[in-house]
Every structure is written in C-alpha cells, then in structure tokens.
C-alpha cells in the first residue's frame, strides 16, 4: 500500500480531485467524504431546526395557533429523527472521516469505497423520511421512539419510516466498521493505542457501540414491520405479544445511542481544551478508561427510560444505581478537563469558548440526568418538559456545541484561511444566551407538570413557554451567523500549518489547507516529535 518515498513530506506530486459533480458522487477520498457528511449534517440541522421552530411557535402561547395537533406530533417526531440520525450522528462521522486518518498518520480510510456508500445512503434515507410529510396520513407522529401500538397507527408513511431507519442503520454500521478498521490497522508505526489522540479513542469506542446496537434497532423496527404486515404478534397483546418488550429492545439500543452522540463530543473537547490551555491533556489514560466504562455501563441501564411501565422493586433499584454509577466516569472526565485548564495559559478563541460552554452546560444536563435516575422521583418527571430540558441540555450545548467547536478548531486546516473571529464569537455568545433561554425554563415547566408532546397547555405555563419560544427563535437565527462564517471562510488571513499556537497532533504537521492526499508514507519521525506522552 505504501510506496518507498524517503521523505514523509506531503508536497509530492499527486493527482488532485476530479472535476464537477462526479468528484462528489464517486469520491473515495476521506476529506471529500468528510466534507459531504458535514455539509449534509448542516442542512439537516436547519431542516430539523425549522421543525423545532414550528413546535416552539405553536407553544409560544396557550391554545392552538398555527398547526393541527396531528401535525404538531409529526413535527416532534420528525424533528427528533432528523436531528439524531441526520444532524448529530453524521456530523461526528464527518469529523471522523476528515480527522482520524490525519490524526493517526494514515493516507485514507481503510475501506474507501464502502465509505462512499455509507455517505450516499444517507441522503436517500432522509429523502424517504422527509417525503413521508406529503403522504396520506402524514409523517410518523408517534415520537422518535416508535412505541407500539401507537406507531402502528401511522398511515402510508409506516413502511417508509421503517425502511429509512434501516438505511440509516446500514449507513452507521458501515461507517463504524470503516472507522474501526482504519484505527486498528492504519496507524503510523509507533503510534501505540494508548498514544492515540482522545478524539480517535472516543471514536473507536463509539464505533464499537454503533455496530453493537444499530443492528438491535434494525431488529426492533423489523418486528414492527412484521407485526403490521406479516401477521406476527411480537408487540400485539391480543396475539400473545407484549408492547413493553419493544420499549426494552428500543432502549437497549437507545441508551448506548445517547453515548454514541456524546462520546465523540468528549473527544473533541479533549483536543481543544489542551490547545488553548497550552498544557497537555490531564490524565489521558484515565480519560480512555472512563470512556470505556461509560460505554460498558450504557448497556445495562436502559430501563431507566421506562421506570413507569411497572417494574419490580429490585429492577428499579438495579437500574437506578447502575445509572447513577455512570456519573463516576463522567465526573472523571469533567475533572480532567478542569485540571487541564488549571494554571494553563488560557486564551479564549471561538473553539475554546464553545468547549468551555460544553463543559459547563453539559454538566447541567448531567445533573438533571442524575435527578431523572432516581426511580421514585422519575415517576413524577416522566414524560414532562423536565425530560425535554435534560436531553436538550446534553444534546444542544453538549453534542452540537462540541461539533461547532470542532468546526471552528479545524476549519483553518480544512480551508487554509482563518475564519472571521469576531463573527465566531458573536455566534458563540448568541448561541449560548439563547440556548439557555430556550431550555432552562423547561426544567421549571417540567417540575410544574407540563407534559411533553402536547400542542396546547394550561395557562399557568404560559410565561416560561413564551421565554422558551423566544429563545428558540433566537437560537435558530444565531445559527445563520455560522453560515456567514462558512461563506466568508476563504476571505481571512492565510492559515499556517500549525494554525493555533501550539496544538498537538499529526494533523497540524501537514500544510493548511490539508492537501488532497496526506501521509502517503507513514510519518514515523513526526509521531516521535509530536510527543504524545
């Protein structure tokens, strides 16, 4: 695979990208595919965001204003499916495609043709999913969790929903296999596993989670399909099945899924905080063990999503304590980030601001998660806005902020120019203010008993809902600043190879913008120089 070129420098003659649309359709280049993933996820972020704004506009005031309740339910369902499978997951896969080969000194992903497939399945899957909005009976409206028997009442959209979930799963599994093979087989010599950057490590663990649980989701939705069309009774009580079993299988997938969406975020901030604190990451190895612990625990806590189904006391206790246990490795990570910053020479460029907000706001989401883990209290919080507040705190200022931080951090490496720092900071401050205005009042609404997934509410909830809606519109509009940053990203100062003052990692040893092909020969000397200890 490698040619015997003596110098590992990258400026040797390589063919550039193909011209025109064919470049993007048939590309097997990890950087092109990374870009495709990131652009796709940004589009889905705005599609899902538009759906969120339909929801928040309807909830701005009590009573029914703009949409029918049926359509409102379609919006909550589609918003979640689009954001989870279309925005957050592809964004992290895009970052993995772009950065992992450059971080481990590999020339490309291990399975480049499969890489092309795993991306191009996604637009098809979401084309199918979004087309259900125009079908008789409308889009799926049962919530993204697809609980039977409700989901079986979906109209013509039902088989399309199942098929699109199958395709998303297929794409994720192929992407995950590719990432595992790349990391295990393509590292530069001397880059031992425990020397790998944290982003690579968290993605390795995430990829294993993906191939373990996405097939289980595929199995669950296949059972829904056979129940509806082929006469089985997996979840139909009349035929001897049990609808609660779906919840068990779904959350056996669903809880690892939430870590699939946060572990790569942990990796991103573990890269950024050391750079802007000008210190190495505190406790690199303990971060690896903590992430592995979180991944293991994620498989044994699923029933905390369903405390209200009527569980024996012993079951409630087991799932309550195992869930609380996750706070320990997560606490290790938070501690290590804080310790990395301790006495560091910190500066506050946009990626660092997003990372700091991530650490602080993700912790708030973690604490409300701990509250939800308390089984007797959860029966009060279940299906209220408190849950909505919790998972939006871990997903928006958690995963999304980490993705934004990553985009700002590596953008100069991708484009070769510094982005507009003023616009970046404006984007950060607007996002942070509005994200809190949107989601913090939801804690109070939930504790006061406002149920989720309902288009109307009692008048005592009006003020907090108006605040949340104003925040949501503000947050949505603030993201246009990010689009402005991207559109003007080639107008700034030329970036150096290092970009930042003293970042660690092989990706900073190649020129900016990164050449179309990097590390055709393994960068042996560089691995030693980069001092990963």
């Amino acid at each position: 695979m490698t040619t015997a070129v003596a110098d590992a420098h990258d400026s040797h003659d390589d063919h550039g990208p193909a011209k025109g649309l064919g470049r993007w359709l048939f590309t097997t280049n990890h950087k092109d595919i990374g870009t495709l993933y990131l652009v796709f996820s940004l589009i889905m972020f705005f599609v899902g965001g538009a759906m969120a704004l339909v929801i928040r506009s309807e909830l701005m005031h009590p009573g029914l204003q703009f949409v029918h309740p049926e359509f409102f339910n379609q919006m909550t369902t589609m918003h979640a499916l689009v954001m989870v499978f279309g925005a957050v997951m592809p964004a992290f896969v895009g970052l993995a495609n772009w950065m992992i080969p450059m971080m481990i000194g590999a020339p490309d992903m291990a399975l480049p043709r499969m890489n092309n497939w795993s991306f191009w399945i996604l637009p098809v899957a979401f084309g199918i999913l979004i087309s259900t909005l125009f079908m008789p009976g409308g889009a799926p409206a049962s919530g993204w969790t697809m609980y039977p028997p409700l989901v079986l009442q979906t109209g013509d959209a039902f088989p399309f929903l199942i098929f699109s979930v199958h395709l998303m799963g297929l794409s994720s599994i192929m992407g995950a296999i590719n990432i595992i093979v790349t990391i295990l087989n393509m590292r530069a010599p001397d880059m031992w596993l425990l020397k790998m950057p944290m982003f690579v490590w968290t993605w390795l663990i995430t990829a294993y989670l993906l191939i373990a649980v996405m097939p289980v989701l595929a199995g669950a939705v296949t059972m829904l399909l056979t129940d509806q069309f082929f006469g089985t009774s997996f979840f139909l009580a009349a035929g001897g099945g049990d609808p609660v079993m779906f919840q068990h299988i779904f959350w056996f997938f669903g809880h690892p899924e939430v870590y699939i969406m946060i572990l790569p975020a942990f990796g991103v901030v573990s890269e950024i905080i050391p750079t802007f604190s000008r210190k190495p990451l505190f406790g690199h190895d303990s971060m690896v063990y903590a992430a592995s612990c979180i991944a293991f625990l994620s498989f044994i806590v699923w029933a905390h999503h369903m405390f209200t189904v009527g569980m024996p006391l012993s079951g409630q206790l087991f799932f309550m304590f195992s869930t609380m246990l996750i706070a320990v490795p997560t606490g290790v990570k938070i501690f290590n980030w804080v310790a990395t910053m301790w006495r560091g020479a910190m500066t506050f460029e946009t990626p660092m601001l997003f990372s700091l907000a991530f650490v602080f706001l993700f912790t708030i989401g973690g604490f409300s998660g701990l509250m939800l883990a308390v089984a007797p209290a959860d029966i009060q919080y279940h299906d209220t806005y408190f849950v909505v507040a919790h998972f939006h705190y871990v997903l928006v200022p958690g995963s999304i902020f980490a993705i934004m931080a990553a985009a700002y951090y590596w953008l100069p490496k991708w484009t070769g120019y510094m982005y507009n720092e003023t616009a970046g900071k404006l984007h950060f401050w607007l996002s942070t203010i509005f994200v809190n205005l949107t989601f913090f009042p939801m804690h109070f609404l939930g504790l006061a008993g406002m149920p989720r997934r309902i288009p109307d509410y009692s008048t005592q909830f009006a003020d907090f809902n108006t605040m949340a809606s104003v925040g949501a519109i503000g947050f949505g509009l603030s993201q246009l600043v990010f689009v402005y940053v991207l559109l003007t990203s080639k107008k700034g100062v030329t970036a150096t190879a290092r970009v930042w003052e003293a970042p660690k990692g092989l990706e900073w040893t190649v020129p900016s913008p990164a050449p179309y092909h990097t590390f055709d020969t393994p960068p042996i000397a560089r691995v030693k120089q980069e001092a990963f200890e």
């Binding site: 093979v181 010599p189 289980v216 006469g231 009349a238 068990h248 299988i249």
Partner: protein
C-alpha cells in the same frame, strides 16, 4: 519498520466486524423476544399471570384478608361493553372464589374476542392462581350477544405479607385484525 503492519488484514477484520453486526441483529430479532418471554414467565414481570394451577387447598388462611380489584378495558374502540359484575372482592388466601364479568357485543357482526390478563403488583403475580378463566380461550360473540364470563381463582397463602391488594386487569381485544393479517 517503514510499513504499516497490522496483525490481521483489513479484509479479515471487516469480515469479523460484519459478522458481529449480523450477530447483534440476530440477537435483537431472534433471541431477545423468546428470552423476554422466558424472563417474564419466571419473574412475573410485565404483569404476566400465573397459569400453573394450585391443586389442593387444605387450610384457608381466614386470619388474612386480601382485597382483589378488577379493572376492565376494551381495546381501541372495539364494539363491546365489558365490565366486572363487582368492582372488588375481599378474599382469604387458600380459598376458592368465583367472579363474573359481563360483555356485550354492540355490533351486528359476529366477533371474536380475546381477554388478556395482567396482575399488579408484580410480587403477587405468581400467587394469583386462576383455576378457570374466560381468558384461557378466545370468546365467540354472535351479533348483539350478551354473555357472562366466569373466573375462578385462589390466592396462594404464600403471598408476601406486605401485599394487601391485588389488581387484576383485563383488556378485551378484537382478534379479527390479528387473524386477518395472519391470513395474508
């Protein structure tokens, strides 16, 4: 050591990972449902009721009184009325009791119904013994027919001390849609 020398080839590692993913699909689709079934049968989880009969009743425990509450539901607007003839009963463990439920077919069509039981709390599941129950078989209803549905049960004296109320819930399903989709 100028070359990347993985221990196993890309092809073989990819194949292993694909087999693992396929195995997880099989685990979710083929293994989990029967496993869940067995788990529920053993633990009484999910409201599963006990179907093994309690044969001989020697000494009813007259010192202890358990309240049995009946809950009835008709699934998805099926054209029935369905109710227990009494809302609750006071019973002694170890003694046999009878209860009756009434159901009426409100439609002008022949209907087939199946009642699915559920017992709460979970710790009472294995101690609530049904000797005879209309839920054991599907029930045929002629047009507009009204029927009395019998239930015969014993509460096992082994019932844990802290249980003083048992809720028995029945949901009556119209099994025609299930039968129709099986016929495909």
């Amino acid at each position: 050591m100028n070359e990347r020398q993985p221990n196993i080839s890309n092809r073989s590692l990819t194949a292993r990972l694909l087999v693992f993913a396929a195995g997880m699909f099989a685990f979710g689709f083929l293994v989990l449902p029967p496993l869940y079934d067995v788990f529920c049968d053993i633990t009484g989880f999910g409201g599963r009721t006990n179907t093994t009969a309690l044969a001989a009743v020697e000494a009813p425990d007259l010192t202890r009184t358990i309240r049995i509450e009946f809950v009835t539901t008709v699934n998805e607007y099926a054209p029935w009325t369905f109710a227990a003839d009494v809302d609750s009963m006071e019973v002694h463990p170890g003694k046999m009791y009878f209860a009756t439920f009434s159901a009426t077919n409100l439609s002008a069509n022949h209907l087939v119904g199946q009642a699915v039981p559920s017992v709460a709390p979970v710790s009472a599941n294995e101690h609530f013994k049904k000797i005879e129950c209309f839920c054991f078989t599907s029930q045929q209803f002629a047009a507009n027919e009204e029927r009395t549905l019998p239930l015969q049960f014993i509460v096992d004296p082994e019932l844990p001390d802290y249980v003083d109320t048992i809720t028995l819930s029945y949901t009556l399903f119209d099994t025609a849609p299930v039968a129709a989709s099986s016929a495909h």
